[in-house]
């Protein structure tokens, strides 16, 4: 029983990270119906930039710099990879371009930071806290709190500020938003910037628990896909639940079956959800317009 509890608790922390990545997909999908296939690399870059900074600035001062870096990185991805593809309405274009940018970022990171995994110093004590026999790392708690805080902050921004309303308006109907004076292409750039910010933030949250390195992004980006589809690409709440489901399932599979098969349930869940409820567990079915 204690083992089960332990597996669930550590699954929650990983699941929240998946949720944050999927949240990033939602942000750009809402405004532009596109998403960054190099989102995992955005996370990796944030994490590695943080790793370089943390020795100089300390963890807290490093955070705003990493977030700013994330914003910039996302904007670059949108400008180089997505903008022109949206104009020409080419689905293949943005998918291939964001994949290509992801490959380039990973290769550059390998050349800058090397190919080996790096240990990220933890800002919190590394001794686990014990609740009823279940060990919890302080950093795992920080992940859950940090992830939720960030998603709430973005939601509040979207609902309360005039800039956020421009984002919501673009998500609702891009053409109509454009007609009432919203600079929709700027909004799309901004949503990409926010999306990479979320990823970079997730990167510095998870790095102290796992390790960091140039190759950490690929698998995490994929998990984000699974969560986004399971929860629904259009549901903010869905990614948290989807992330938890996936994080916990993986941990259970890893323990009771074999660590080698840990990544398999993600795909199975994904196919299952698509077969039963294609818009995701919490997503709304879109209405086609003729």
């Amino acid at each position: 029983m204690e083992i089960l509890g332990q597996l669930i608790v550590s699954g929650i922390a990983v699941g929240m990270i998946y949720g944050v990545i999927a949240f990033g997909y939602q942000l750009t999908f809402a405004t532009s119906k596109t998403l960054n296939f190099g989102q995992g690399e955005a996370l990796m870059l944030g994490s590695l930039v943080g790793w370089s900074l943390v020795a100089v600035t300390g963890y807290l001062l490093m955070l705003p710099i990493v977030l700013a870096f994330g914003l910039l990185q996302g904007a670059i991805v949108e400008r180089l990879g997505v903008r022109q593809a949206i104009k020409t309405k080419s689905e293949a274009g943005w998918i291939m371009a964001t994949i290509a940018l992801g490959i380039i970022f990973r290769n550059l990171a390998e050349n800058i930071w090397g190919r080996d995994a790096l240990k990220f110093p933890s800002p919190l004590p590394e001794a686990p806290l014990s609740f009823a026999g279940i060990n919890v790392l302080p950093m795992e708690l920080a992940i859950v709190v940090g992830a939720i805080a960030m998603m709430v902050a973005v939601e509040v921004f979207n609902r309360r500020s005039i800039y956020g309303r421009a984002v919501v308006a673009t998500a609702g109907d891009r053409d109509a938003a454009g007609l009432v004076g919203v600079n929709t292409s700027l909004v799309i750039t901004f949503s990409y910037a926010l999306s990479s910010l979320a990823a970079a933030f997730a990167g510095v949250l998870i790095a102290p628990v796992t390790l960091t390195g140039a190759t950490m992004g690929g698998v995490l980006g994929l998990k984000g896909f699974a969560v986004a589809i399971i929860g629904g690409l259009s549901s903010g709440f869905g990614v948290v639940v989807g992330g938890l489901i996936l994080g916990i399932t993986e941990n259970l599979t890893g323990f009771y079956l074999s660590t080698g098969y840990k990544d398999v349930p993600g795909l199975l869940l994904l196919l299952l959800v698509l077969s039963l409820k294609p818009s995701g567990l919490f997503g709304k079915a879109a209405i086609k317009k003729v």
Partner: protein, 654 residues
């Protein structure tokens, strides 16, 4: 003629190659190019024609290869059994992915296939009991036919046993490539190919022509997976050793790059692309080669860009960017010291360049430089051939019975418990101010919306909630308010998409172009020509639909809808945007359609059209039916006048 000569020449070159070139290295290189071509040709069916992106073809390729490897290693079953099994098993995996992933539109297939690719690699690594895991599997090259006795009489056949096996395998791959080319070309030239292109141009119109978008997308993916499997089996026997690392994410991207770079929607493009990507690692392995290649690209770009700028000075700025990029790339190549470290960066930059500056690929680029091939042309259409065998409905009985239909979008009731009864053999007008629910009614009748409540009976059977393609299959055809043509297909092909129901042959018939397939194709072509003649478009039958003027596009939609042999035809504002003489034509056409016993529902704002062709008119306002009767009666109805002109009856009367 020229194309046939080229094909014969290419095939002859492939046949004599092993005797002309003795180096086993080049023989092997050519084999790999041909195997990659089999995969990229298959990928083009999905990626080029339906427009869906698969980032998992390397995994499908791997499944094919491992089918061969596992069969040989675990069961001792050889090449000839692995070939069909590899194709079938890989196609099965393709179906497993495509069936759920293609239920929704959007980037889902790309996301699912990307995940699939990673998982397959993990599984191959983990399932050591089956696949030997990271160790990989070694195979032995099959000897198909021992020609050593023959070599005594034909000296050029004299070679070592190993070389003989190599050369024989080379021919097996040549045959596989030729079969792939033939099958894919025939499929794409058949109704399946037309459906693949149509669903990309307008998925909604495709469904409403009874051609299920979902079914055809899945079909395209499964076909594509089958060829990836074929390529995989061949690959395992060409390398004679396979390991999980052969089938990673980078290979999937390489396949996509090959199709894009070579040129989508062609046979030659994916082959060019395959050749380029096979040479690519060699190019990227040696810094001097790479510098020379970058120099050649820069020179070509400057020359090509310069010519383009002279021809079209107004596009100078846009042309300058890619040229500058090529030059910058050359400078980068000169400064680069250790190429292996930046191999993937170069690869990524190539993808970006191809996606944005060479979207039609090398072949597309060359074709654009040459004079255009396909231009408009006429067909000899016989109007009598146009009409199908659908039973002409007798007047009187209700063909369509709409019962208390409610269509709610959130709090808005677009249709609020509307009844409608359309008698067979009549033209039923549906009018009302903008936003009154007319088009919503059309969408409910054709299955695009499932109504919130209420029922729709067509020929006595419930159709509400069925899919658009099912409803179309039962005999309800439609046109669209905002024209929904298959813009890249010709007029004739547009109409032939509507005639899909007239085929009874299977996909095998189409792939092999059997006599039955040819007969059915000719019959469909004749009928399509007849229908074009009927709407007066036979003179431009081979023109692409997007080149038609707006008014003619509406007529083409009617011809396409008639191809379904409908009992009920829904016309959504057919006269919108038409000139006065075009409207006269339209009214003549509508009357003729009615004379053939086809019932129509007509949504229209041109009152003169409504009043002169409709037998009955229903009026909608704010989702409710406010009047119904003959045109003359409705025209004088007070509620109708108020709805159209605003205000109460009093102000109208005054």
């Amino acid at each position: 003629m020229l194309a046939n000569a080229f094909k014969t020449l290419a095939l002859a070159a492939l046949v004599v190659f092993p005797f002309a070139v003795s180096s086993p290295y080049y023989l092997h290189l050519l084999v790999v190019i041909m195997i990659y071509s089999v995969v990229t040709l298959g990928l083009d069916v999905v990626f080029g024609y339906t427009g869906e992106v698969s980032v998992g073809h390397a995994a499908l390729f791997g499944i094919g290869a491992y089918t061969a490897g596992v069969l040989a290693f675990q069961l001792g079953i050889g090449f000839w059994w692995a070939l069909p099994l590899g194709i079938v098993i890989t196609a099965g995996f393709g179906a497993l992915l495509a069936l759920p992933a293609l239920r929704v539109t959007g980037p889902y297939l790309a996301m699912v296939t990307l995940a699939f690719g990673t998982i397959v690699q993990i599984l191959i690594n983990e399932m050591t009991f089956l696949t030997e895991g990271p160790l990989g599997i070694s195979l032995k090259r099959p000897v198909v036919f021992d020609w050593r006795p023959l070599a005594d009489t034909l000296p050029f056949l004299k070679m070592s046993a190993k070389k003989m096996a190599d050369v024989q395998f080379y021919y097996v791959v040549v045959i596989a490539l030729v079969v792939t080319l033939v099958v894919i070309s025939r499929l794409l030239a058949s109704r399946y190919g037309r459906a693949f292109e149509a669903l990309r141009d307008s998925p909604i119109a495709c469904d409403c022509m009874g051609v299920s978008v979902y079914k055809h997308k899945v079909l395209a993916f499964v076909i594509s997976a089958g060829f990836a499997g074929l390529g995989g089996v061949l690959f395992s026997y060409s390398e004679l050793y396979i390991a999980p690392n052969n089938f990673g994410f980078d290979l999937s991207i390489t396949f996509l790059l090959a199709v894009t770079m070579g040129g989508r929607k062609s046979r030659i493009g994916p082959i060019i692309g395959a050749a380029v990507v096979v040479f690519l690692p060699n190019l990227l392995a040696d810094i001097n080669m790479f510098r020379i290649a970058a120099g050649v690209v820069a020179v070509v770009a400057v020359a090509g860009g310069g010519i383009h700028m002279l021809r079209k000075p107004e596009q100078r700025a846009r042309t300058a960017i890619p040229v500058a990029l090529c030059l910058a790339f050359f400078v980068f190549a000169m400064f680069l010291e250790r190429i292996t470290d930046y191999k993937l960066t170069i690869f990524g930059m190539m993808i970006l360049f191809v996606v944005f500056y060479l979207p039609n690929g090398i072949y597309g680029f060359l074709r654009a430089a040459l004079p255009a091939g396909r231009t408009g042309g006429a067909v000899a259409g016989n109007e009598d051939a146009a009409w199908g065998t659908a039973a002409a409905a007798s007047g009187g009985a209700a063909l369509l019975q709409v019962d208390q239909i409610l269509m709610q979008f959130g709090g808005l009731k677009a249709l609020d418990r509307v009844d409608l009864s359309v008698r067979a053999g009549t033209v039923h007008g549906l009018i009302g101010p903008n936003g009154s629910g007319k088009s919503t009614m059309m969408n409910v009748l054709t299955g695009i919306y499932a109504p919130t409540a209420g029922g729709v009976k067509f020929l006595g059977q419930e159709v509400a909630g069925h899919t658009p393609s099912e409803i179309a299959g039962r005999g309800i055809a439609r046109t669209f308010q905002n024209v929904q043509l298959f813009s890249e297909l010709t007029l004739l092909e547009n109409v032939m998409v509507g005639l899909q129901h007239s085929y009874s042959g299977s996909m095998a018939d189409a792939a092999l172009r059997t006599p039955r397939e040819r007969r059915e194709e000719n019959a469909a072509r004749d009928r399509a020509a007849g229908l074009l003649r009927f709407v007066g478009l036979d003179a431009v039958a081979h023109e692409e639909a997007r080149n038609l003027p707006y008014g003619k596009q509406r007529l083409l939609e009617i011809a396409r809808a008639l191809a379904l042999d409908p009992q009920l035809l829904l016309l959504d504002e057919p006269a919108a945007g038409l000139t006065a003489p075009d409207i006269q034509d339209l009214m003549r056409i509508i009357r003729k359609i009615r004379d053939h016993g086809i019932t129509m529902v007509l949504i229209e704002h041109h009152m003169d059209v409504v009043m002169s062709v409709c037998d009955t008119v229903s009026v909608l306002d704010f989702g409710q039916k406010i009047a119904e009767g003959t045109p003359a009666v409705v025209q004088k109805d007070e509620k109708v006048l108020a709805a159209y002109l605003g205000g109460s009856h009093d102000t109208v009367a005054a």
